[in-house]
């Protein structure tokens, strides 16, 4: 888990994404930076509209106009990928970066059998014949835990349950042995007992194949159980990043602390839940200075003027007045 030592697999630097609208440009991501080490699971957590899915979309190069990368860079294994031509990006997607989306029913083709979809993906990315690809597809289905894979491979997505479909989607993402998988809310559409099966599977695959995962979710519980490190996003910024235990047990940013305190506990019953009053600002009304200052109990006039940066430490918070003084190494 010593992410700072290994050279990063994915490196995102000062990424700004802007949507050009009729009333001028809207900045959806405002200088996002983070690294993912090989084989590491980075959780990206935040509330709706914080920009977490957008970050994932930008990394796999699926940003739709009018959204565009205004500045910053994305490097995969040292190679810059944010300015690649569409064709080159298409080759890279699926081969080196896999993707898992929230709804397994919409990410599978309803008119093709599961086997056909797997074989197509494998033959597109790897120099293998159909028969060999089918063997590999079968092996992948077994690996993601689909019972009776020999018969299931010739069935259509509608014949699978939600959890089984998500396993197929994971098998699809693994087809070409990518080094990075972007998983955008992979368990949100599933029941809790199935959710646990899927996160356990993701963790196991990550360990066995050495695949890194960028796990985008709004569910702090899923992050806590699955991720090695976590990046907390708020209004288009990473406000806190660090090892998952540290961020959860000793959050430095007041937003992270508020978020953690507002989750009801399964172990004890409290009379009153902590609540962060107000709501996340809209893109056209992001306050100057620290975007969180109107909702922050610790805000000083200074916070309204100067936007705090994210220090380059292993556990860092973008805050002028962090809650605990980070330990000096």
């Amino acid at each position: 888990m010593n992410a700072t030592m290994a050279p990063p697999l994915l490196s995102v630097r000062d990424l700004r994404i802007v949507f050009d609208g009729r009333h001028g440009p809207l900045t959806a991501l405002d200088g996002v930076s983070f690294d993912i080490a090989p084989g590491e699971i980075l959780g990206v957590v935040g509330e709706s509209g914080a920009g977490k899915s957008l970050t994932g979309t930008a990394v796999i190069g699926l940003l739709d106009p009018p959204g565009r990368i205004a500045s910053g860079s994305i490097h995969l294994n040292g190679q810059r990928i944010d300015n690649l031509p569409a064709e080159a990006m298409c080759k890279l997607r699926g081969r080196r970066i896999g993707a898992i989306f929230q709804d397994p029913l919409t990410s599978l083709h309803p008119l093709l059998t599961v086997g056909e979809q797997l074989v197509e993906t494998i033959t597109t990315h790897l120099p293998v014949g159909k028969a060999e690809a089918r063997d590999r597809a079968l092996q992948l289905l077994k690996e993601v835990g689909i019972p009776a894979a020999e018969t299931r491979i010739d069935q259509y997505p509608h014949q699978f349950s939600g959890g089984m479909r998500q396993r197929v989607v994971i098998a699809l993402a693994l087809c070409a042995e990518p080094s990075l998988i972007i998983a955008d809310e992979p368990t949100t559409a599933l029941d809790v007992s199935i959710q646990a099966q899927i996160t356990t599977l993701l963790k196991r695959l990550c360990r066995e194949h050495g695949t890194a995962i960028m796990l985008v979710t709004h569910d702090m519980g899923v992050i806590a159980e699955t991720a090695d490190r976590v990046a907390v996003m708020y209004a288009g910024n990473v406000v806190e990043i660090g090892p998952v235990d540290e961020v959860i047990r000793r959050p430095h940013h007041p937003y992270t602390a508020g978020l953690m305190a507002s989750i009801p506990s399964i172990h004890t019953r409290h009379q009153h839940l902590h609540q962060i009053d107000g709501a996340m600002p809209r893109l056209n009304a992001i306050p100057p200075g620290c975007a969180f200052n109107p909702r922050c109990g610790r805000a000083e006039p200074f916070c309204r003027d100067v936007k705090p940066g994210l220090p380059g430490k292993s556990h860092a918070a973008a805050c002028h007045f962090p809650l605990t003084e980070p330990a000096h190494a």
Binding site: E47, A196, D219, G221, M260, I266, R269, A279
Partner: protein
């Protein structure tokens, strides 16, 4: 707070849906009728001023049960009975029941101003004599749920998810409701907004002596809200009783597994054993105890004889192995 007295008694209620193909198809293919048993033989009592929660995975019948309680669905067998209550204003009669839905984006008419959305039940039930009194009441309700009087003039699209759920609550309270059925009221909301809505619901319950039937799949939210709790699996209650008793010492293996599998922010990177298998179809539930194919402690008897709810350790459990 009103005296604890039963407000709703559900006795042996069942709800079945006929999902058979058309008669001719069935005749030609020699297929039998197919019956979906959404709710099977459920009995419980809700005390006034308390929260009764129902927990279960999708397809377990919890929403069908909620729809039966508000009268959107008739029970196929059994009965639901609301007891007459004395209200603070001196009136006496059956409780007024309202529902709060899961999706605040789908449950508000986008073409109506918020003021009209809330005023509709007041006008329809003639709870106020004239328009001035109606708009006064709408303004009061908006303030009760933490919005401002001026919000009545705006349309639902101008509000965030949490604010819309506040509007839904104001609309439910507009009828001077005593009993609210809340079907996953916070599952479409972000956690910080969820905390605001849960706090609001707890405050309103204290202020107005409301009774909640709270449907959720989120166990930590349920622990925060509930007095009484029932765990549902494939249309039946498998465990029910005081919420704290069940959370502290779950006795049914399904309840235990549910508590074990939910992600826990207080124990990062915990190694957990996920529950294997999936919820079977309620059209063809497994014989005996419906949970036996997934149960880690099942014995041969479990696949033969369906267990019934029996009193054990201050709660009811339907399990051969619980004792």
């Amino acid at each position: 707070m009103p005296e604890p007295s039963p407000i709703l008694t559900v006795s042996a209620a069942s709800c079945r849906f006929d999902v058979s193909p058309p008669a001719l198809t069935r005749l030609l293919a020699h297929e039998p009728r197919r019956i979906l048993r959404a709710v099977e033989n459920i009995s419980f009592t809700v005390e006034r001023g308390t929260t009764f929660s129902i927990v279960g995975e999708s397809g377990c019948g919890k929403s069908t049960l909620a729809r039966m309680v508000v009268g959107l669905q008739r029970p196929t067998e059994g009965a639901l009975h609301f007891h007459d209550i004395h209200r603070a204003d001196g009136s006496f009669g059956p409780p007024r029941v309202q529902m709060i839905f899961q999706d605040p984006y789908a449950s508000l008419n986008p073409r109506w101003r918020v003021g009209d959305v809330i005023a509709e039940p007041i006008r329809e039930l003639r709870l106020r004599p004239d328009e001035a009194a109606v708009s006064q009441r709408v303004g009061d309700l908006l303030e009760i749920v933490g919005l401002s009087r001026g919000d009545a003039e705006r349309y639902p699209h101008a509000f965030s998810g949490g604010q819309r759920q506040r509007i839904s609550i104001a609309r439910a309270l507009a009828t001077e409701a005593d009993f609210l059925v809340c079907d996953e009221p916070t599952s479409a909301l972000d956690v910080s907004v969820q905390a605001q809505i849960l706090n609001l619901m707890v405050r309103l319950q204290k202020e107005f002596g409301l009774t909640y039937l709270f449907i959720s799949h989120n166990l930590s939210v349920v622990r925060h809200m509930s007095d009484q709790l029932a765990i549902m699996y494939l249309g039946r209650f498998v465990e029910s009783g005081p919420a704290e008793t069940i959370f502290q010492r779950p006795r049914h293996p399904y309840t235990r597994l549910l508590l074990d599998t939910i992600p826990d922010v207080e124990q990062p990177n915990r190694q957990r054993k996920p529950m294997s298998g999936e919820v079977p179809s309620p059209i063809a539930p497994p014989p005996g105890c419906a949970f036996h194919p997934r149960c880690p402690i099942a014995v041969p008897n479990c696949s033969a004889v369906a267990p019934v709810l029996e009193a054990l350790d201050e709660r009811l459990v339907a399990c051969h192995r619980a004792a």
